[in-house]
Amino acid sequence: MKRLVSMQIPVVFLGGQYNHLIVRALKELGVESWMIRPNVRLEDLQVDGLVMGGGPHSVNDGLERFGNLPQIIERGWFPMLGICLSHQLLGFLLGGRVVKGRKPEYGRTIIRVIEADEIFQGVGSEFVAWASHNDEVKQDGGRFRVLARSDYCDVEALRHESKQIYGVQFHVEVAETPKGKEILKNFVKMCR
């Protein structure tokens, strides 16, 4: 029997409600996925890509809970996707600011794509997504480009200025984000 070697994209567990759903979504796309802790070492990551999940903390309370993620984000050679809290971590590490949202989003929101990018290929310029966050990213001259926004949040998606490192404030892994699977698929394609 022919054995297919599938791609390996683990998910960094940061204690969020949907971290395990990311693993489920990646598996449904035929990717080998499992949860790893943030104290994983970069040299032990023999992977095709990395997804980092959400969590209940704030980056403004210190970076201890993020383990080795700052070094991994700085020096990793594979595509990365940060979701929710990890999106905020990316914004923070790439020179933006993270602030408490004046009108936090819990549940349905409309994402408006403002810069075309392969991560949003085939999903249109506006789509429904679900979010759940108290903090949000502000750009303020950070080393990233803003790809999408919503009525209540200026940075719904970002991309590193030169690498395939992405952040999304909304949740691509939940069933209520109908285009989420497509976005995740676009990310998986980059990992090949």
């Binding site: 204690g15 969020g16 409600q17 949907y18 971290n19 395990h20 759903l21 489920r24 959400g54 969590g55 209940p56 929710c84 809290l85 009108k103 936090p104 989003e105 819990y106 549940g107 349905r108 679900w130 759940s132 966050h133 108290n134 903090d135 949740h171 939940v174 069933a175 209520e176």
Partner: protein, 336 residues
């Protein structure tokens, strides 16, 4: 185990089903132990932990009697994710919290469904040929009606809830496609005023609408954190359900302590005076969801809701009926 928090006729139905499989069944009638343990407790987490402790103490005693040292239970992914995430304590999560069940209760655990969500469990059940009444059954929480009896549990309140549950299940069970879960909850119909800002936000959607808060708290989830806050009651003015579903966000933007909003379908109203002995509000919840980690309120046709409201008001003790219009997040599916 009949905890006293099962639905009308459910103990008999479940017993019947298990017996028909040829399992050596014994039903433990332990309602009084639960009611006793919960007396005077209003806090949702305190109630849940009390339920868990009572539940496993009863099980532990029976297991010892029977010489059992393994407990097989159906804990699934959302159970340990929500419990270890501090959203709410599901009663069937023990080892993941560091509780040693061998020391505490005398049995080891076997939890074969730990990695699965409800929709995946159904798929496994169908694959195994489990009968439809089990594989397609709507979810019902371990602590049962306890978590839908918001605040303190009392016999009279529980009786109203049980009657309301039957009415809601009959009325909404026929919807196609069926809501993934649909049920009633009950709370003392005591309210306080909301802020002017919240009133203004409601009027943007319902020009003649008003908003109050129930004097109780309910569970929610905001930004991966537990929220235990107010239930807003919107009343007055007509609107389609899609418009109503926009209200919770608007209210929460004005008052961050609100975790969910309900729309009052009808009731005795303030015109009835003080003579009424009816004192409970029934909250109707119906949701659409794949895996129950996120959910949206089900778009029940307004005329069906109005009929349901009239039927619920017939139940002795019910003073008003509301329809829950909140998604998860910021609310959870259940109330506590």
């Amino acid at each position: 185990m009949d905890t006293g928090f099962m639905r009308e006729g459910e103990v008999e139905e479940v017993s019947e089903m298990l017996r028909s499989l040829g399992l050596p069944l014994r039903v433990l009638y332990v309602r009084d132990r639960f009611i006793e343990a919960l007396r005077g407790k209003r806090d949702a987490e305190e109630k849940r932990i009390t339920f868990r402790e009572t539940f496993y103490r009863v099980l532990s005693k029976e297991a010892k009697k029977e010489g059992c040292d393994v407990l097989i239970q159906g804990t699934i992914a959302p159970d340990w994710i929500e419990t270890s995430g501090g959203i709410k304590t599901q009663h069937n999560v023990l080892e993941q919290l560091g509780l040693n069940t061998v020391d505490r209760y005398g049995f080891r655990l076997l939890e074969p469904l730990l990695e699965l969500y409800k929709d995946q469990v159904r798929e496994v059940a169908r694959y195994l040929g489990v009968r439809l009444e089990a594989s397609e059954r709507q979810p019902f929480p371990g602590p049962g009606l306890m978590v839908r009896c918001i605040g303190e549990v009392r016999e009279e309140k529980l009786k109203v809830l049980r009657a309301a549950t039957s009415v809601v299940e009959r009325a909404l069970g026929g919807l196609r496609p069926p809501p993934n879960q649909y049920f009633a909850a009950v709370v003392e119909d005591e309210r306080s005023a909301a802020s002017h800002e919240a009133e203004r936000a409601v009027r943007e959607v319902l020009p003649r609408g008003r908003v109050q808060y129930f004097n109780c708290r309910a569970t929610g989830v905001k930004g991966d954190n537990r929220a235990y806050g107010k239930i807003a009651v919107v009343s007055g003015g007509k609107a389609g359900t899609e418009d109503l579903f926009r209200l919770p966000e608007k209210i929460i933007h004005e008052d961050g302590e609100v975790v969910r909003a309900v729309y009052e379908l009808g009731g005795e109203g303030s015109g009835m005076g003080g003579g009424s002995t009816n004192r409970y509000a029934v909250l109707v919840r119906a949701v659409e969801t794949r895996d129950f980690m996120t959910a949206k309120p089900y778009n029940v046709p307004m005329e069906l809701l109005e009929r349901l409201c009239r039927d619920l008001l017939e139940i002795k003790g019910v003073s008003s009926v509301c329809y829950d219009i909140t998604s998860k997040p910021p609310a959870t599916v259940e109330y506590e």
